[in-house]
Symmetry: C2
DNA sequence: AGCCTATATGCAATCGCTCCCACTTGCCAA
DNA sequence: TTGGCAAGTGGGAGCGATTGCATATAGGCT
């Protein structure tokens, strides 16, 4: 079942069938109708490989993520996918599983598929792969990449603002013994969050006792273990800032397990505002980082690069997206309160 | 940059390059080496569309899901993807957003991509689409589809066993006033869970007061609202069984918000055992439904259908998968306890 | 020397579609 | 009448790979 069968059935040439399907060029309405009837009658579905090969365009974007299981990503994927669909693109996803070696495979697979743009939403990197993309002139977009190079754009998150809001909140409540649980120290985004936190703290003239600076793994168990360590201290911290929500949730588990309560005994602040933060018990005070924003900026960055800056509507959107950082914002919920001296 | 460039550079024909890449047929080692050098030198990546078109095989499976944002799916996708990779397949995902109309689009897209098999892991259905798949002879696998038709397999979950374990646990603790919060009544899987729960209850000679049977939407807010309604009753239930974990989490929020505690005042049991259940506060007693199992069975069901039942290893695995239902199992954690009369 | 086989490689048709170009037809102006 | 133009359609090359078949070469055997 191919375009020739349809052409035969509709008594036209394959060229005409093609024209009817793509909707461009002029086809006499009656002819078009006949073709459409034939398509339905045969329940014909065009072959995407053939079309891609022939046109030399895939209308496909690749998105590289670390791990679909990480609650940070589904929202991102959802939004990206939605936008792609709205703009007649498709999106394919590739998991690196946090491994640069696997990232290389991911990129290779995306290149095989002739994607027209690649969004790299991970921290781990394979410089070699990046090179391969670059030398093909394929547009790329990164997340918080430090040194922006030519030929690629960069979605950058305004971590600082959110961190400052969180610090102001904690300090405003009267906390003095503040701890920080960071993420894995080989994860660039985690290191970035930590350093920005420390810097913001310093700028406010507050100094953090080194013993209160520890780290987990950005998962629940890591937060749990880190908090257990903090709880052994005497005096123990009265407020804990964390590098992501899963860490915060792990920390809260540890606090309850030690017979203490949040926020009565210890206040906890998360980062990311994943779906679960609102539903958690107690609902987590956290810094919201909009995955919808990130996905939107990433998508339009690629879309714009592929479809010339000439367009009007998309142009405006992208311009807006490129101008500003992705904002972050403190969301006050139930996991913070004044210390009960 | 295509196979001809490589051939020219290595001073061989395109046929030889192709043979080197696919690894089949005999190529003189030195020639192969020369070709490999050329491939690297040019950093050539083959064009998948051309390959697919030429071979007439896509090595691609499609997976239809409702919504990537639903925590039920990421695990499923992860596992499916992993298995696909291990078996030299790729997997593409399509979101229906719970809409049969969109499902039609999803299927159309998968057919365009010439997928070799389709796993339909959603409840919503578009009979028309199913027909299109069937008439192409493409293997399908469903999740808990009630009437198994020919030409498709069905992964079925043993809801009953898990429900019975949960009921035994609750009843064994001494609970008399048991409530149930179901899912959306237009979602087949939710209706199934509910009816199996009621049936299991009846079989044990326990009867449920109709007023204690209510439903949410399988999301946190629905569980919250449903629980609020239950809390207005006098006497209120002492144990609540729910149709999924998100519902249970919503219910717990409502209970705490009413100034009560879990499990002291009310016990809550979830269903699914999503990642968050373990980390929730209190950790949720729930019925585990292994997404890994589901994905594994779904994958091998398609894989086997596509690669003849003749293979040995896969055959064994698939046979095992097809024989048994996906088991469910009660996981005891902290959200259940004996009622404090 | 002549023949045969096994091994290694090349030629070219093919997959299903798109799109350039050429062609037909009908209409209007010159 | 004729030329020119626009609208509608068809022919067929080409996209980049795979693969059946033909061919070339080397070595072994009689």
């Amino acid at each position: 079942m191919n375009i020739r069968d349809v052409a035969k059935k509709a008594k036209v040439s394959t060229a005409t069938v093609s024209r009817v399907m793509s909707g461009v060029n002029i086809v006499k309405p009656e002819t078009a109708e006949r073709v459409r009837k034939a398509i339905n009658a045969l329940s014909y579905v065009p072959n995407l490989s053939a079309r891609t090969l022939s046109k030399g365009r895939s209308h496909l974007f690749g998105v590289v993520i670390s791990d679909i299981t990480n609650p940070f990503f589904p929202d991102l994927i959802y939004t990206f996918n939605e936008l792609a669909e709205q703009h007649k693109y498709r999106a394919v996803f590739a998991n690196t599983n946090y491994s640069p070696a696997r990232m290389e495979l991911c990129i290779h697979s995306l290149l095989e598929q002739k994607v027209e743009g690649i969004a790299i939403m991970t921290s781990e990197m394979s410089p070699n792969s990046i090179l391969m993309i670059a030398e093909r002139g394929i547009p790329m977009v990164f997340l918080n990449e430090p040194g922006p190079q030519k030929n690629l754009t960069n979605v950058v998150v305004d971590y600082k603002s959110g961190m400052e809001q969180a610090i102001d909140h904690i300090v405003g409540l009267g906390h003095k013994r503040i701890a920080f649980i960071g993420g894995p120290q080989d994860l660039r985004s985690a290191v970035l969050r930590q350093s920005i936190f420390l810097k913001a703290l310093k700028e406010k003239g507050i100094k953090l006792d080194k013993r209160r600076l520890t780290s987990g793994n950005h998962r629940v168990d890591g937060g749990y273990a880190a908090m257990q360590r903090l709880l052994e201290q005497n005096p123990r911290p009265t407020a804990v800032m964390t590098s992501n929500d899963l860490t915060a949730i792990g920390a809260i588990s540890a606090i309850y397990e030690a017979g203490l309560q949040v926020p009565r005994d210890i206040s906890v602040v998360g980062f990311d505002d994943i779906e679960m933060s609102r539903a958690y018990n107690p609902a987590l005070t956290t810094v919201r980082l909009s995955r919808v924003d990130i996905a939107t900026r990433a998508f339009f960055s690629l879309y714009d690069a592929c479809n010339g800056a000439g367009t009007t509507v998309s142009k405006r959107k992208v311009k807006g997206a490129a101008d500003k950082m992705v904002p972050t914002q403190l969301i006050l919920r139930k996991s913070t309160a004044a210390p009960t001296s």
